[in-house]
Amino acid sequence: MAAFEYLEPATLEGAFDALERGGEEAHVLAGGTALVLLMRLGLVIPSFVVGMRRIEGLREIGISKEGGLEIGALVTHAEIEGSALVQRFFAPLAQTFGRVATVRIRNQATIGGNLVHADPASDPPPMLIAMDAEIVVARRGGVRTISAADFFRDLFEVALEPGEIVTAIRIPPPPRGMLGTYVKFLPASQDDFATVSVAATLRLDPNGGCEDVRLALGSVASTPLRARRAEEALRGKRITRETIDAAAAIVAEDVDPLDDARGSAGYKREMARVWTRRALGELVPA
């Protein structure tokens, strides 16, 4: 791959300096699985790479005093999958990270890198969206948060300004009794990106009605998609086969999939319906 200048600042301030120096052609290196691959294929040619590995405070998983989860941007997929803390917090979240690629990629790739790479076929974003996650973004002189649902702008494009770095992901505590699942539809090889994926979280009221629901899908558009209209159709209603079917039909209307090797747009649309139905059916059997 083409040569580049490489800096490993010890602090976040140092990272901001380095990004400023590098300008437009500066890239942040987290785990490296995406960036090294893109560089190797010649699709990205940075002149400046800023490695994050020496910066402290980006590798922890912790619980805030409000009971929410905070995951540092450099925490790897494997660490999240294997974390007893995350499993206790919300097991489907840990399981989602375990669905990514292979054990080697999970050991190297980070949650921050995954989010910023913004591949719409990636597994973590739909589940993070379904959990109302917030992405903590730091820049020189300040910090802001963006909701995961608003973070993805387009194919491989996120709502970050130049000089901004993702430092953590915050997930509010799931309401008591919240159910969740992540379904990754792999019609051919088991080692692949999803043809469609569905993350669903659901809270039932004491009568079995839907108190709240989140539906987010991957691989169905140029970004992960939050299926708000389908959520609306379920909120406040009893979860029955009919209401699930109706919600799934709305999802099929709202997705905008791309034709690619993993399926035609028409097939993905159909599968979005089928797997939304099946994901919800998994949470509320019969």
Binding site: P187, A188, S189, D191, G263, S264, Y267, V274
Partner: protein, 718 residues
């Protein structure tokens, strides 16, 4: 022509113990040396400028900027080196394109530099001016009346060991028609006539070692080539002819080969690297990136088959008219058969009383087709085995029963019109019936399907040298290349068994392919056990004769060379069957296929290396599984859409179903101790078994490979 002379013998070394492969230690410790591991003093690295166009005239090439880059030792174009074409039979592929590029990725210029990075940077600095020409991507376009002619000077190309047959159109690579009996009469006798078409895509070999080579010329003008080529003696010959040096001055150095599956029988980069080595006076190394290997080496031919078959109302075939068209890509160089078709005439395990078999391979502006495990058979057997089931379905005859009725037997024969030596097709089918529980009812959404194939055991000429040492040990010297099937261990066991020596006393030495080395035809065509194994036995026979007369050598080693020859592809050559019964379930909402159970019935003769043998059957099955379900090298406008292993999906650990083997060992083959072959025809029988099982499970008939969930769903909705 060989006759079966070996009968099954008992010998504790061979028949009672599993082998421990002699290359095992090297391979599990990472010590095994492959071409990419070779490093020599002063070695330079190559890179190539390749054509971005599917068809273009090369107007001019400016190498000044490339040549000026620090660390660059040579930049060569086709004009610099001249017209040097290579091939396994027909030498139509240029070491570097001279005036035309014929597919995206065709090599246009070559660079040798201190490092690979510098070489690639220099290659990017080569300015090529192209004039785009009309492109033909599909055989029917290439055969249209006003289609551009891809090889205008084709009459000047070298055809090795023979004469190229006339072809009906300048863009035809090879064409062959077999006629058997009176097909019109055959169709007239039929109660029903069925016609179906089938399509298969390009596949890549999927060997995990990308092609690599190191070439250097020593002070005595000997050309040394380390190549990932599994037929080093053939390469030696091809190389000498292509670059124009005496064959005695070419040595193909031994290295392990990291998987071949047929495609590495054609060397590609060795030729331009030779010219770089000559221009620089240094060794030159080139290791393809996997992307380069997928894009521009060779692939399995895409195909389109039309089958028209007449049957009686009881399902007996009266006539079969088969037409298969292969997309040959830009060059025919990758095909060794004199017909320039992939593989030999396909065999079928059925009586074909009258028939017509037409096979055509066509030049197009796409990645060249070459050989790959069961070449031509993967495509043809998918068609025939699906077709048989589709006919059986229409006639409401059980598909196994229909096969039993048509199974070749007695004086019956297939297209080749030569009676089978051992017509054991019926026995095979009955084994498949009992092993699979055929006929037992299955729950809804589940089905069973059969795929059944047969192939000739390959022939060729091989030599093996034995060196009896005063210590009582024996060296076995071979020029065979080890690409994974275990030939070296096989030779050790065969010689040890036949000489009644402990395995530790038998040492196998792989030598470079050069004039004095025992000749080997190379792996491929399911020939190696048969031909090289028997050459070893011949050497043992000669050694025994010598020892009987003169005793075991006491002072100096005694050398003897064994030889064996059998015709390759002869109609009456011995053959082996392989059949699968697959059980699948289909999710009718998504089209997803789950393969639940597979039984593999193979007629293998005596098994010499049980562990490797099982591996050959399993590996061939899994390659067939990949072809059936997940692999598809997609080409759009001549450009390969998915030239990486992220997007060209090889089966993984999680994708393979339970697999059971039934090995039929009592039908002796022509190999040592009655061995046959394993690991090739099985690949061809997998996809139809699954396609037939899908149809049985849910009625969806897919006639295009791979059998994707989306295609199944579409077929369900028809």
């Amino acid at each position: 022509m060989s006759t079966i002379t070996q009968t099954r013998r008992t010998h504790p070394l061979i028949f009672d113990s599993d082998e421990l492969r002699i290359d095992g230690r090297e391979k599990v410790t990472g010590e095994a040396e492959y071409a990419a591991d070779v490093e020599l003093p002063g070695m330079l690295h190559a890179a190539f400028a390749t054509s971005p166009f599917a068809h273009a005239r090369i107007v001019s090439i400016d190498i000044e900027r490339a040549r000026a880059l620090a660390g660059v030792h040579a930049v060569l174009t086709g004009t610099d080196i001249g017209e040097h074409r290579f091939g396994r039979r027909f030498f139509d592929r240029p070491a570097l394109c001279v005036d035309r590029a014929l597919f995206i990725g065709d090599s246009v210029a070559a660079v040798a530099a201190e490092t690979r990075e510098i070489a690639e940077e220099a290659a990017a600095l080569i300015d090529v001016e192209y004039e785009e020409l009309p492109v033909v991507l599909e055989p029917e376009d290439a055969l249209a009346p006003n289609a551009p002619i891809l090889h205008e000077n084709i009459d000047q190309y070298y055809f090795h060991a023979g004469k190229r047959a006339a072809v009906p159109h300048p863009n035809v690579q090879g064409h062959r028609v077999i006629l058997k009996g009176n097909i019109d009469e055959g169709f007239a006798r039929a109660d029903h006539i069925f016609e179906h078409t089938f399509t298969t895509p390009r596949y890549h070999g999927g060997y995990l070692e990308p092609r690599a080579t190191v070439v250097w010329i020593d002070a005595q003008d000997i050309v040394h080539v380390v190549a990932t080529n599994k037929a080093p003696f053939a390469l030696r010959e091809q190389f000498a002819i292509c670059v124009g040096v005496p064959i005695d001055s070419v040595r193909i150095e031994p290295a392990y080969i990291g998987g071949d599956f047929g495609g590495k029988g054609l060397s590609v980069d060795e030729y331009p690297c030779y010219f770089l080595a000559r221009a620089t006076g240094r060794p030159v190394k080139y290791v393809r990136t996997y992307l380069e290997d997928m894009r521009s080496s060779t692939v399995r031919h895409a195909s389109h088959t039309t089958l028209r078959t007449g049957v009686t109302r009881d399902g007996y075939i009266t006539a079969m008219d088969a037409n298969i068209v292969f997309n040959g890509g830009a060059y025919a160089a990758g095909k060794p058969a004199p017909t320039l078709l992939p593989g030999l005439d396909p065999k079928l395990p059925y009586n074909i009383p009258t028939g017509r078999l037409e096979r055509t391979s066509v030049y197009t502006n796409t990645v060249p087709g070459g050989h790959m495990r069961a070449p031509g058979d993967v495509q043809f057997i998918f068609a025939v085995e699906s077709h048989i089931d589709m006919i059986a379905h229409e006639l409401r005859i059980d598909p196994l029963e229909m096969r039993v009725r048509n199974a070749v037997s007695g004086n019956g024969s297939d297209f080749e019109n030569v009676p089978y030596l051992e017509p054991s097709a019926r026995e095979m089918l009955e084994k498949m019936r009992s092993a699979s529980g055929w006929g037992k009812p299955l729950p809804p959404g589940r089905g069973r399907g059969i795929g059944f194939g047969v192939r000739h055991i390959g022939g060729g000429k091989a030599e093996v040298t034995l060196r009896a040492l005063p210590s009582g040990n024996v060296d076995v010297v071979t020029g065979a290349a080890e690409q994974g099937m275990g030939i070296l261990t096989l030779l050790q066991r065969v010689v040890a068994a036949e000489l009644d020596l402990e395995l530790e006393r038998v040492n196998v030495i792989r030598e470079a392919a050069m004039t004095q080395t025992p000749f080997d035809p190379g792996a491929g065509g399911s020939r190696q056990t048969h031909v090289t194994g028997n050459a070893a036995l011949d050497a043992v026979r000669r050694l025994r004769e010598h020892v009987a007369e003169h005793g075991w050598p006491k002072d100096a080693p005694f050398e003897v060379r064994g030889v064996f020859e059998a015709a390759h592809g002869h109609e009456a050559a011995p053959h082996g069957f392989c059949g699968f019964v697959a059980e699948v379930s289909v999710d009718t909402e998504t089209g997803v296929i789950e393969v639940l159970d597979v039984v593999c019935v193979s007629d293998v003769g005596t098994i010499l290396n049980p562990v490797a043998h099982r591996g050959q059957l399993a590996g061939g099955f899994v390659m067939g599984l990949g072809h059936a379900l997940t692999e598809d090298l997609r080409v759009t406008e001549g450009k390969i859409e998915n030239p990486t292993l992220a997007d060209y999906k090889l089966p993984t650990q999680m994708d393979v179903p339970p697999l059971r083997f039934i090995n039929i060992e009592n039908i002796a083959g022509p190999g040592p101790f009655g061995a046959k072959m394993a690991g090739e025809i099985n690949t061809a029988a997998v996809a139809p078994a699954i396609a037939n099982a899908i149809a049985d499970a849910c009625g969806a008939r897919v006639t295009v490979l791979p059998l994707t969930a989306e295609r199944v769903l579409s077929a369900l909705r028809l």
